[in-house]
Subunit: 168 residues, 8 copies
């Protein structure tokens, strides 16, 4: 089994956030790998990873980093694979990481999701892989249905909030 | 020829920004369509489009909008295709559109690029389609080489800036 | 008894904030309903609700959501009723939700109140209903008087703060 | 004919923005008045206006102001009518006016629309008045249909943008 | 003894912040009064206070408020006395209160100090009163000297931080 | 005639903004001086000025500067006179200058007015001087009345805006 | 042993942040001194320090301060030594301190590092000193290698996160 | 003559901003080189440059870039030389570039100057080189004196602004 998705984070301290992506990929039964590589502290490793990812079978890269979050952009500059960026909240409420990821100059996009939005990064990776995989498409349709059912169910819990003038 | 990518914008006044995506797709010879649909003014059309896009052969959607930019998120809620969002600068330097696009709640990602970054949206769409298309991969590699050559060439123009203590 | 006001929230986890609106409506003896509906996870339900609200007797809608808060705008695009938006603080101190609600494009307004300002959303709903209801007007006048009395009373508690040079 | 809506602006220099509200009210054939009153420079006039507005037949107030925009809040503190606030861009891209309007403390709501969003303020006023007026409801439905038709028509203009790989 | 300075706060919950001003005035032996008055909930009381303050002997007003902090500006519009504004952190890290206080339009200044900066508001009030009072001037000079001595003394505590390469 | 107010600006390029303060002081017939002194480029001159200002008869200092605007704070650290700060818009819409002026640490207040708000700085200086000068008080009262009359007059110009449904 | 680097902080309460710089200098065996001096409360001491630093053998100054952080700029205005600024988070998430440090006007640079980034300030000081010191260069090379090894090692801890579809 | 300082910019379009650094270095007669290299489009060239800079005699690197400005940080990750970052205003008033440069994670500092502050970057480079070069120190002292003289002279121009109550 070779990984299709590679999850990279700037520091192992980002794992509590980034595990959201791993859980989604696991749920969708997509083989993946997880590693901590820093754009600033291990630039050589980042380069080696980025340049060989396509040939190693990777089809989507998810990169999470905080502060002046260069990791996703640096990887994107050295691969033709789609790179999904997760800005991690470490300072300034995550605004610095968001801007440092999303505001990429023309030529090198990073597909940025919400601050600490690693679950969405995982789902986006699945959506990208599903473009050419009808089975995965079907799983996404089911996943969306479950999201809906969850909120419908949760809504029922709201019925415990009683007010004299509430109408049900 | 059926379109693989659909470019949607919230208003025809967004076309001067969004044509960047069209030009990229044209360059990569990827069939695409362009339409103006508003999440707020034509919600029915947005729904009809979103729900049928996959069956109509679309594989990636690019959505651009300004201000409280809901278009990309609304489309994403009604399709399993990857949706790329382009925040358009119409007020507050585009910060409102950026946040209204990228900060999607868990379950429904939007792959957001830079403010007014429609060229990058086009490139990201190509990268997504190229995951399963070696020919397109090769074109992306060439595209990256050209980006590099352009800056190397532009660098030569800098040589016209003469200073007594500049060393070349 | 049919509800005149409908309180919608993007997730049941928003209830601790949104109950402020319910309490106000209860105080003013205005029949209301509360539901959790997500613009992104249950778009069909949101549409069904929005399109039938007026015919079902609803006269004002209060919608609360966080992050890229599209709920209020999406509802507003499918009804002619006034929609009051409550931006909920879930990230970036609520600034993302505020901008994603208030910065609506021309044609589809959302009457936005303060971040987490659900009590004010309730009061605004009452003020809208009171336009044609002298009895409700009178209750609003009394409510304002009570607000004043509370702060006058609270002011008396300040008298316990003693300083040598404080004059009373 | 007595006015149902009162448009107040902090300075006559705000008229180029605020006329958007006047145009909407005119289109919907709703009698209105326009005046410039400053919360800071004519507090007495603001008080006199606010306290008598309901008895004078006004049912909705629209207030526009820039910078530390207190006008809407000050009026709201002295009336039980719904007050719609239009933050006007005069400095800091309008962010100061937006926050000074929307972040009202509990008890005194201001129904805030987008920065420079006076057209939406007008539409919101109509929506509020329409709650008890089926004829006005019908006009709003027609207005929404026109908004949709405009964008559908504008979409046709996009067809002039020709690209080799564009599919229509 | 009649008060020379009046400390006003928008709500008694602001007292833990605003007492900083009271302590400074007490230290400088300047008679003062403290009251909670809300621009929005007790506009009549604010007006009565503002219009009579000069005649009652007040020479400086200190007003603290949070969120859309109108209190200082509203008072300033109804008096010719200098009004010092203290933006109180209640939401958005206090940025809303700061902008709603400091960005006053031409004609009606508010002398704004830092977010939660009530001690500085007290000192500024003393500086204003000292313009015509050599005795108070002298106390200010002593106060500045003490500030300096405190930091010089605190500096000595730093000497307990020992590092091999620290030089003293 | 000795100056009572000293206007200091960080650079002569700030004069187009700062002349607003000069005009106000001239209108109120208050003797003043204007100088350009830079906290960063002429620290010695700033020190000499600040330390002698009180003895030279100055009673209020107005300091304007842009970017990392330290001028007002540096002067305030070396005098016991009230220092009014005018943040000048030179970058980041003036937000940097505003924060660098208003967020002074405990002990050294700067009375900050709006970005580019030099007219208000002048008025505030007059209000401070008027605390002990009934004649100046009277002039301020007249000034406020004129402000009011101007807006009342400007309001009449609004009457030229004609709409079928406008009521006058 | 005379100090080569001087660490200055605006208040002793900044020590928990600023000790990061001390630790780095200690690690690199560079003699340094630490003092608390306030631009606002001890301007004379700041001046005396700044003007004599070069002659006392200091080659780099590190200055940390919060809020309207003038310390680094004020020192930089009175020395020709490079001054490294550490914005300290005390309010507004440190954004005020960052802008008040980094946005220096032309002529007087402050080499600003991240909010609370005192370790980086220490490393930058070492890098500056190492320009002419091959031995120190070598230590920096080793330091970078250790940074890399740490993250490589930490990466191994990630291997404990087990998922069925994780590939290693 | 070998260059001591290397000026790198992300794009030749940054030259109008970055030439400020070149002019300063020329004035101080410090040999330098200028090149355009993009962290994202020519990562290989950036790496080659960064890794050989020290051995090629470079002692300080100045890097300017806009948007998600990674250039300075990427270079800093591959050299032990001090790297000065100039955030260039290309979007969001330069705030994105500022945060993407200055908020570097622990281990890899970038000495950041003001947005578009290339002149200060040049001066900082001179200050760093001057640490071990008394002749350069002397030039810096003269440079500071000239800065002062310029503002003193400019101040004289202010004397042309005549007001009846201006005192000179």
């Amino acid at each position: 089994m070779k990984p299709l998705v590679s999850i990279i984070m700037g520091s192992t301290s980002d794992f509590p956030v980034m595990k959201g992506a791993a859980e989604i990929l696991n749920t969708f039964e997509i083989p993946f790998e997880i590693n901590a590589l820093s754009a600033h502290r291990t630039p050589g490793e980042v380069e080696a990873f980025s340049k060989s990812a396509y040939d190693n079978g990777i089809r989507v890269i998810i990169a999470g980093a905080g502060m002046a979050a260069h990791l996703a952009g640096v990887i994107a500059s050295m691969t033709t694979l789609p790179v999904i960026g997760v800005p991690i909240k470490a300072s300034l409420d995550g605004l610095d990481a968001l801007l440092a990821m999303v505001q990429m100059p023309p030529g090198i996009p990073v597909a940025t999701v919400a601050i600490d939005g690693s679950r969405n990064a995982g789902i986006l990776a699945v959506q990208i892989l599903a473009a050419g995989d009808p089975g995965l498409q079907q799983k996404l349709v089911s996943f969306k249905t479950e999201l809906k059912e969850k909120i419908v169910k949760a809504n029922q819990e709201l019925s415990t909030a009683k007010y004299k003038y509430r109408v049900k």
